[in-house]
Symmetry: D2
Subunit: 339 residues, 4 copies
Amino acid sequence: MTSPRQLGIAVAGVGRIGRMHARIIAEQIPQARLAGVYDISADSAQEVADELRVDAAPSIDELLAAPGVDALAICTATNTHSELIIKAAQAGKAVFCEKPLSLSLSAVDDAIAAVDAAGVPFMVGFNRRFDPGHAAVRQAVQSGELGELTIARITSRDPSPPPIEYVRISGGIWVDMLIHDFDMANFIVGSPVVQIWAQGAALIDEGIRAAGDFDTAVAVLTHASGAITTIDASRQAPYGYDQRVEALGTKGMALSDNRRDNNAQVFVEGATRQAPFQHFFLERYTDSYRLEWLAFTDYAQHGGPSPVSGSDGRAPIVMAMAAGLSAKEGRPVRLDEIG
Amino acid sequence: MTSPRQLGIAVAGVGRIGRMHARIIAEQIPQARLAGVYDISADSAQEVADELRVDAAPSIDELLAAPGVDALAICTATNTHSELIIKAAQAGKAVFCEKPLSLSLSAVDDAIAAVDAAGVPFMVGFNRRFDPGHAAVRQAVQSGELGELTIARITSRDPSPPPIEYVRISGGIWVDMLIHDFDMANFIVGSPVVQIWAQGAALIDEGIRAAGDFDTAVAVLTHASGAITTIDASRQAPYGYDQRVEALGTKGMALSDNRRDNNAQVFVEGATRQAPFQHFFLERYTDSYRLEWLAFTDYAQHGGPSPVSGSDGRAPIVMAMAAGLSAKEGRPVRLDEIG
Amino acid sequence: MTSPRQLGIAVAGVGRIGRMHARIIAEQIPQARLAGVYDISADSAQEVADELRVDAAPSIDELLAAPGVDALAICTATNTHSELIIKAAQAGKAVFCEKPLSLSLSAVDDAIAAVDAAGVPFMVGFNRRFDPGHAAVRQAVQSGELGELTIARITSRDPSPPPIEYVRISGGIWVDMLIHDFDMANFIVGSPVVQIWAQGAALIDEGIRAAGDFDTAVAVLTHASGAITTIDASRQAPYGYDQRVEALGTKGMALSDNRRDNNAQVFVEGATRQAPFQHFFLERYTDSYRLEWLAFTDYAQHGGPSPVSGSDGRAPIVMAMAAGLSAKEGRPVRLDEIG
Amino acid sequence: MTSPRQLGIAVAGVGRIGRMHARIIAEQIPQARLAGVYDISADSAQEVADELRVDAAPSIDELLAAPGVDALAICTATNTHSELIIKAAQAGKAVFCEKPLSLSLSAVDDAIAAVDAAGVPFMVGFNRRFDPGHAAVRQAVQSGELGELTIARITSRDPSPPPIEYVRISGGIWVDMLIHDFDMANFIVGSPVVQIWAQGAALIDEGIRAAGDFDTAVAVLTHASGAITTIDASRQAPYGYDQRVEALGTKGMALSDNRRDNNAQVFVEGATRQAPFQHFFLERYTDSYRLEWLAFTDYAQHGGPSPVSGSDGRAPIVMAMAAGLSAKEGRPVRLDEIG
């Protein structure tokens, strides 16, 4: 059933996210096909391989060398990203890498340099750019109908804190959670950030406080254009995943609101009741993940600018570092302090 | 403080509705002034007169003869409407009359004839035409952007049944309650109704059933244009006054939705909660009553077609009669059977 | 990869709907697996078989005899449904059949009798029952929090008329389109319909008018409980697929509203703009189709009452016949006139 | 018509806001009556006096000495507030004063001391506290159903910039515009603010930039409880007055959204269109002004804690000063730096 026109994508790392990507590639992208999987746990790899009827490779090298592999999706632990990007680029494969590219800027730069040297397609997995609502806000900005942007507003709240073991290795709320929002600010406003004011608090979870991290975070971004973005983020929103994006310009405003589990309303004496927001990212961003793979496939097959380039992937890492420094030192931090 | 440019409006009948009209005229219509009140209960008349600092007349004749009375607002019992319209018209006053004009078609025709003969301004109190939401639906229809209308839908539900004493003298649900919806169908669709299918049920209130009336009613109107209107009405909506109007055409659709007590939402685990709809007509139609008086004043002062003419007031009475007959006999009734 | 616990489902008829079902079974139902396909067009069958990596059977008999076939999904032309149900039942297979079961009541009764005699699981494809919003309305009714139902309201509007060739063989708007709404009335109200008033009009499409069919239809259903359902349907809603369900009871109201392509809003001077409703049933009812197959698989594997039984499938056919008669003769029709 | 139970309220200053207050007192507060007016422009005073049928006093002293004056509403220029508060308090009158109390903290303190010494009722005109939506958010917080607050969010956008003459004497965006939002933060969160980060930009209006003021402003407030409030404000929102308030706690979230001119929606191919938000504060805060006067009247007549006390009025002035300093110096400012 392999079509000569289908892009063969191998997936490295089949934890929760990698497995989701593998299923989407196998089942929902007509122009692509799953070309193999690899995981540090051979059992996990075999399980996914069985489910999706592909081969599990015993190593990354063998995965890259397998027949029909045109592209590599890197969904492994963050500290392996840079090395795998370089390896895949040198093997001439198109590369998709989950965010964040790395917690080390030099590793990021090495990876980007390798991709540039090899001239292979490269895309970073900021899936929220493909959310139809968020993309419609971006489109309204780009169309000019909002005029010049003055204020953007991003709300980002998970339903509940992750396990404390995860928090400890996460790199902290700025790089683990707000990195998505920093990318969204860049995506929506379209002007680089020059300064960040950030402050955090641990008001919800004792474990997070004990780990020296925050569960509540606010950032104010100053863009080169003069526009200002405010971000508020929380590790806990008991009413459901809360992901809103808003852009105010001199001529109008656009916002992307949440979706609910269903569109029923119940009206009883004294109140109207609606279903809660979709629970978490797997529900809310279902469409965005599928559209992300359609975009990657189209880009790998037909060229053009990367939908989310290496520098798009690098910028939010610098911003996360600046935010962390601002929150630590209680002062605004200019991005050119970081690199 | 009387301005020569202000229209002097006297109010006959200061029960709940008449008192509301008197207050609006006295306080909210810069181009008008309250010129006196009358009520069959002299105490009621005096109470309103004291509150609003005008004179209470001892009779309709003395009210009409009082200085500064340019117009009469008739808010008395339905069976007195026709006589008062005739009296006011013959006195050369502009006339505003609450709905329904009468329960007798011949009385309606006599009143309209008197108004026509006197050449005085005449307007019927179908206030819902002035609701900004409903009016926006009408405007969308009239603008042509919906194309040719095919279906209209009207929902009309009171929060709770009136006292059974009121029900007994109300003339029945068709004339007491749906008369507003019949007028709305005419207002929105803009094509006369030629046939009605109506059916009612008494599912809520034992007293209403015992009185031989309905608390639940549905009607299907066939317009001359071919468009079909469905109406559903209930004497009881425990979640608040429910007044929705909708028009579907070959190019688009417009709807007028309810408003809530406030626009706050509370999101807790498992549900979102909103405030209920505005309680009843005094809350929901606050704007429409004010706009109705602005329209009447402007019409009485500057002429032009009546915002709600005599024939506009007559049509829903015929429709209510047809609906009553349809519900009684279990067959569709053509309006030309009625008159 | 075949799991002993997976239900093997073969699909007969792989036109638009059958192909969609085949894909859902193959890709989205972990407890099921696609066990083969058949179509009157061998090319179509082979194409779907290739895409989903199963075998195409040259005949229904061979499909039923193929290894691993536990159930048959019947998605062929309506006039073949009854025969295939009987054949599958006699072969001891669980049976899923698309709506309508047949346009002949005796054929429906023969099919139900065969299923009963064989004692096999049988479910009719009224997918809208599985829409999360509509199901939440049903749940609110069943929970008792709405009190006793008095009025239900169903709006059902397709984006644009089907090709006239389809209209001519469709059986007419009552059986082709409103059959879904008749089922929804039964599902929501939960009390059998005893009488129908129906009227149609051809206001949109000259071809439909010429074919003697309607593009605009209204029906009023009287339930045994006394509750009344109004249905309005149109072959054309230029603003998107419009599917709304509403239930009013003595204690409250519930409604299921449409979903939009995305949840972005754009605010410019004078207006706020939102994305249109989801385009058509493939978008709107994506969830319901998946949940329908989960329900069928669970029922076929673990027994219990059918999620949509033979009598559930028969009732809307009788209602469609009654509606057609009512519209033709201009009188209300009791269902016991039909059978 | 003067009732012995009615509170006689005189209004000093009948510019736009004072005139609105006078009308509300005269027409919409049954427990109060307008007892006279004064304005620095005798013509303005007479005009309002004529319209509302009261006397215009030639001076504040004569206004305070007029018969039936129980309370004084101070709506004059900000720099006269303190002196008038002291004068009215010493005359034993209940005092209502528009915001801000003063631009001088010592003047504020003098006024509060005079009120305390006289023991008269005193209330500051932060009307937004009485907006039904915002009050419902506060109520949700106070009820405990949101748990402990972690983040509050306030959006405050005027439809268009005021005349540049007004901007020049306004005291700047922090004290002129955000003072309402600072009060709202205190009202909603209920924990004093200890630190402010503020930054502004002039992105919209050249005149505002030339005047050294901002048209775009963001502030991050740190409350003593640890909760964080973000405020974003703009002098221009071409889509209508935008006033939203939101509170996130450990158990839930509440938000107060805007209202529209009407609740109609128009659905055409490709988009749904709604009416814009209510235009400006006179439309949006109609209810809040009336409820404010009901609260003041009830408080002046029956005692209890002030609905908006002197210290409630003082706090946002300190916050505005801190915000101005933060924006000027590019550093967070602790409120105890100010006083």
